[in-house]
Every structure is written in C-alpha cells, then in structure tokens.
C-alpha cells in the first residue's frame, strides 16, 4: 500500500448524496480476479451512455484532468462491500475522498488501499464543493494527514478527525497483516482458551 502523507491536487465535485458502490463500479466489472485496471469501470453508467459514448461526466472534463481528490455529499460509498470501488477510484488516481459522511465498509476499505476518506461538517463541505466546482488550478486543495487539515485556496484550513491507528498505518503505508501476525502468540492463546470454553467451535 502506498503511503498517504500530504496531497496537493485538483478536487473534482460530485454533488450527490448516497453515492453507492454499484454506482462507483457496476457489477459487470466485478468479474475480474485482479485489483488493477478498474478505472475503466469507474462511474461507468454516469460516464458513458447506453451506446458506450462518453457523457461529459465531470471526471472526464479537461479542467479535472489529473484530479486526485473527490468531493461528494452524504453517505458516500453505501451499499455493497465491494473493494473494487476504492480500487477503481485509486486506479483513476483518486487518493482522497472528502464527504459529509461515509458508509462504514467503504470507509474502512479506503484505509486498506492508501486512500484517505475525510469527513467534514456540512458548511465546510459546501465550501470545498464550491471550490471544486471552479475546476482547474482554482480547484486545488491540500490535504495533510499529519496535521489532519484540508487547506483551501481561499485560505481556510478545515480540521478533520482520523483514528490514531489508521493514521499511523496510512502515514507509513503499513501492511495490516504483517502487523497482526506479530501478535500470533496472542491469537494462539485466545484460541486455546476458546477451545476449552466452547469446544463445539472447533469440532
């Protein structure tokens, strides 16, 4: 997983609440056995019409070329647990999603892939959305994980919350599994106790 420390990039506005993971990546792209190459399916049904022609979706407009921050509304990433959603965002270059709120599984999946999900209160989110709508250079923001702030071109600095353990892993690009395996003895001890108390779980 790539580290996330500080990101200065164009922000792209997606002014919708309840963006679900079916919308982020429709089912026809889920038959892959790989993690990569999924940007092709990102927001597919919004980006292409029934005949596969581009719709001039915001992500494809020239002023958002190279955008790495996505600004959306409430309850972003609801629905299916598919990690293909953050994989597709990442494959397109998105490293940070700013929203008023996130669905739990999507939020969690972001951290496993080096994407920082940032929750901001409605008023600050509206400010970010307005900035993102300007497009191009004028829509550049800086998201700093170390100081936990979003800095806007208007000179505002919005603080955000992130759990210390998640922050630590993201700042250092740590592999969760390797970390957990350091506790292998504790896991074995737990299993030994559980097997005694609830043997049916092991038969």
């Amino acid at each position: 997983m790539d580290k996330f420390t500080k990101l200065t990039a164009i922000a792209v506005p997606l002014e919708r609440d309840n963006v679900d993971t079916d919308m982020i990546i429709p089912k026809q792209f889920l038959t892959t056995i790989k993690r990569t190459g999924l940007s092709r399916g990102l927001f597919y049904e919004l980006r292409y019409d029934e005949n596969g022609k581009p719709t001039e979706f915001v992500l494809d407009k020239p002023e958002y070329k190279g955008a790495q921050i996505l600004v959306a509304g409430e309850n972003f990433g609801c629905g299916s647990s598919r990690e293909h959603a953050p994989w597709a965002l990442l494959d397109h270059g998105i490293r940070c999603v700013i929203a008023e709120s996130f669905a739990d599984i999507f939020y969690n999946n972001c951290f496993k892939n080096g994407i920082l999900p940032v929750k901001l209160p409605a008023e600050q989110l509206a400010a970010c959305m307005a900035i993102a709508k300007r497009g191009g250079e004028a829509a550049m923001m800086t998201v700093d994980l170390e100081s936990q702030t979003v800095a806007t071109p208007d000179g505002d600095s919005f603080p955000f919350e992130v759990e210390p353990f998640r922050k630590h892993c993201l700042l250092n690009g740590l592999d969760d599994i390797a970390l957990t395996l350091e506790d292998a003895d504790a896991i074995s001890a737990f299993e030994g106790k559980q097997r005694q108390a609830m043997p049916w779980l092991y038969s």
Binding site: D17, N18, D20, D22, M23, P26, K27, Q28, L30, T31, T32, I33, K34, R35, E45, E50, G73, E74, N75, C78, G79, S80, S81, R82, E83, P86, S101, F102, A103, D104, I105, N108, N109, K112, N113, E163, P164, F165, D176, I177, L179, T180, L181, D183, A184, A186, I187, F190, E191, Q194, A197, M198, P199, W200, L201, Y202, S203
Partner: protein, 474 residues
C-alpha cells in the same frame, strides 16, 4: 476490566468482549473471527495476496466457500457461458483446493447463496463472530451472532490471521411493538424501519431488533430483517437468540453435536442483552401501523405503504431532497401523485439472500393459489439454495409455480445484482424481493420496486403493483 464486565451489557457488547484478542490504547481491538464465508467475487485478490506473501489460511476448518454471484440459474449443466464469470468461479475452486478450504461446487445440492447456506448448514450460531466479503453478511445476526460484511483486504486478513482490526460499534436498538397485521411480513417491517431511519440511520452502529413483532418472527423472517440492516446503514443487525433460534439449529449438519449441545445452550442463553443495558440510539415502531411496503425510488429509504402515491418533489423539505426525488422519478419513469398500485410491471424477481428461503416460497405459493401470471409479465423464482429447491419440489411448490406460469430456476444471487445472465433491460420495471433498488442494480436502466414475496407474487398475477390483502379477498 472487572468493572466494565459488571455493567449491564448488550448482546453486541457481550459478543465483542468474548472475542477481543488484544485491545490497543486508542480503543482499536484485534477481534477473533469464528466463521468466515467466502464467495467468488470478493476473494480472488485475497487468495492472491496470501500466495504472494507465502501465507496460509489459518483456520480452513472455520472457512466455507461457495460460488453464488456468477452462477447461471438455468441450464447449469452447460457451465458458465461468460468467460470472466467462469474464470472467477474456477479461480475460487482452484484457491480452495490449494489452501484446503471446503467449497460447495455448482453441482453440490448444498450450493446456494452464501447467506442462505450458512444458516441452513447450522454453521451460523449464536454468540459467534461471522464475516464474509459481502455486505449482506448481516443476515446471520438473526441468530444472535455478530456478523458483518468486509472488503477483500479484510478477507485476506481473516484468511491469514482469523482476526480483524476493529473498533467497537455503537449500540442501537430498534423496537417493533405489538403484532403484525395480516399481510404485513418481515420484509415490510424492515422496509418500514429503513423508511423511518434512512439509509444512513444506522451508520456506525450495530442494530439490535427487539419487541413483540420481532420475537414472533420465524428464523426466516428474522434473517430477512437482519439482512437489510446494511440498507439502514448499519454494518450488522442482531436479534437475541431464543427457543425459536435453538429449535431451528438443533440437528443441522454443522450445529453442536449431542455431547456439546447442552453446553452450547447454556452459553447461548446468557447472550441476550442485560436489563438496563445502554443503547446509544433507540427507535420504536408500532407493528399495527405497518402496511405492506413498496419502494418507489432508487434508494431503499424511498419506501411507502402500498396504499400510497408517488411523492411530489415540490413537497421536499429542502433543495437536496427535491433534487434527489426529481432524479429518482426521472430514472424510475414515474409521475408525482400517481397511485403506487397503478404502476405496471414487466418482470418479477422472487429470490435473493433477503427472501430466497423455503418459507418465502411457501408464501408465494399461497398467494398464487391456482391463478396465473399476468400476460406480458416474466416472473422468475430463484431458490436461495439447492436444498431450498429440493424442499420446494418435495412439497410440490414447483408445480404450483410452473402451472401458474412462473419461471422456476436454480439457486444463486441471480437478478438481485444481475452479475450473471439474469438482468433487466433498459426501462424494464421489476417487482423484486431483493434488497437494493439502486440505479442499474438489476441491469442498466432497470427499474426496481422492492417488496415482500407475497406482494411480488400478487404483482406477478395482476401485472401491476398490488395490495396483496385485496387480492386475497377478491
């Protein structure tokens, strides 16, 4: 530690405490996972990760795999026509062989939707932690287990370590008081709950469902309710285990055997929430006020009683809601103010992990009662598992369905998410017993109305959204 243990605890708190391997300073826990269900869509990258790191599956005995999302629900003997889908299923078979995980293959009668087969085999038990790379894992909470969906990175984490790094959720209790009126099913209860609290209403929480109307549900009904917890924003839903739970479990292939059964019962009886346990959020509904429910829009919270009318954007509480209603109406091709029961249908889908159990099929057969599917409507019934199919055929339900003009299929996820060949064409309108009415969920441009199996059956017979209570009396 001792002090917190003596506080009254919820069902969730108890299961959580029982599974903490380690607690870190910031409150993050290493949580032990008792059972892991695996399917073909969200696991290939996880197995690949293990292989690349030279890791093994820690507990193959606690892991069970099945292909459900991609499998064809007709002419299965011909195999899977779409190459990507076939490769994905073959990859699961290969991974299971390599890592020593049991898998129910496409020709195994026990094959079916992952959330149907866990309970059916008795794998799902009270007090367990259960995960699967699938958001509808919440279904298993019906047994008083803590069950939730995870992403593929976490699937890999569980395969390798049998644990997850988690923070405790908040507790939310949804109480449904009183008795359900005739015609109101478990599906109507959960749709009404989602309508009340919204699709983000349970975010950050685990919902415990309580109250007389919940207690009186069969295990099938309880699974329907817990299944859609994710549509209420909660990662998990739970119902305290009781005699209904134990009765269902006893004698199932993977349930505790005779020597352990009594011991297990004793543990399970201690699981229900203590009196006075704290809930961070409480919501109460009255069952007597809940009519059969139908969704009209593109989010499960866009739900109304069947007697209702399509909403008017002009009545929205703010601009955001107005835009959302307008967009939903445009996508759904509906006119504000029109009666729900005037909405005509092209397709009917009965099945899914929400409503693909034998009890659901019996409900459908009861409504059909010798009538015929309306002209111009294609109505399919997809059992949740091979065993559900066998049972239905043993009871003669398949004959009722086929004679009435229903398309009787093989088990799988099918048109709930339309990953296999079962899908809506653009503009087609479907009455569906599944769980999501998102744009494009059942096929690009497809229009989904969520409802109970009985309501979907009624709709199939008349060709439009129908109040099953009126059909029954006609």
């Amino acid at each position: 530690m001792t002090e917190t243990m003596s506080q009254p605890r919820t069902l969730f708190d108890k299961i959580w405490d029982n599974h903490v391997v380690e607690r870190r300073d910031d409150g993050t826990c290493l949580l032990y996972i008792d059972r892991h269900l695996v399917h073909e869509v969200t696991s290939p990258q996880a197995f690949e990760g293990l292989r690349m790191a030279g890791r093994k599956v820690r507990r193959p005995d606690a892991t069970l795999a099945v292909a459900d999302h991609n499998v064809p629900t007709a002419h299965r003997e011909k195999g899977i026509a779409e190459e990507d889908s076939r490769i994905q299923v073959e990859t699961l078979e290969k991974n299971c062989r390599e890592f020593g995980v049991e898998m129910y293959g496409m020709d195994d009668p026990r094959q079916g939707i992952v959330h149907i087969i866990g309970p059916e085999q008795g794998m799902t038990q009270p007090g367990m932690t259960i995960v699967c790379g699938d958001s509808h894992t919440s279904t298993h909470g019906a047994f008083g287990a803590l069950a939730f969906g995870i992403g593929t990175s976490e699937v890999e984490h569980v395969l390798a370590t049998q644990t997850l790094i988690q923070r405790p959720a908040k507790n939310m209790r949804v109480t449904v008081d009183g008795k359900r009126p005739i015609g109101t099913t478990a599906k109507d209860l959960i749709l009404a709950i989602i309508g009340k609290i919204g699709t983000a209403g349970g975010t950050g929480h685990v919902i415990e469902y309580a109250g007389e109307a919940i207690r009186e549900l069969s295990m099938a009904g309880r699974m329907t309710v817990c299944n859609m917890s994710i549509e209420a924003g909660a990662r998990a839903g739970m119902i305290a285990p009781d005699e209904t739970t134990f009765e269902y479990l006893k004698g199932r292939p993977m349930a505790p055997k005779a020597g352990n059964w009594e011991q297990a019962l004793e543990v399970w009886r201690g699981l229900p929430s203590d009196p006075g346990a704290h809930y961070d959020k409480e919501v109460t509904l009255h069952a007597s006020e809940i009519e059969p429910q139908v969704t009209w829009g593109t989010s499960p919270q866009d739900v109304l009683p069947v007697s209702g009318a399509i909403p008017n954007p002009a009545d929205a509480r703010d601009d955001g809601q107005r835009r959302a209603i307008e967009r939903a109406l445009e996508y759904m091709g509906l006119t504000p103010g029109a009666k729900l029961t005037d909405v005509k249908l092209d397709k009917v889908f009965i099945g899914s992990c929400t409503n693909g159990r034998i009890e659901d099929l019996r409900e459908v057969a009861k409504v059909v009662g010798g009538r015929h599917v309306a002209d111009g409507v294609h109505a399919m019934i997809v059992p949740g598992s091979g065993l559900v199919k066998e049972q239905a055929e043993e009871e003669g339900l398949d004959k009722v369905f086929v004679e009435a003009g229903f398309d009787w299929r093989d088990a799988g996820c099918s048109m709930c998410l339309a990953m296999n060949a079962d899908r809506l064409q653009p503009g087609e309108r479907c009455a569906s017993t599944s769980n999501r009415n998102f744009e494009g969920r059942q096929g690009r441009g497809g229009r989904t109305h969520l409802m109970s199996p009985a309501m979907a059956a009624a709709a199939a017979l008349t060709g439009h959204i129908t109040d099953v209570r009126e059909l029954a009396s006609s």
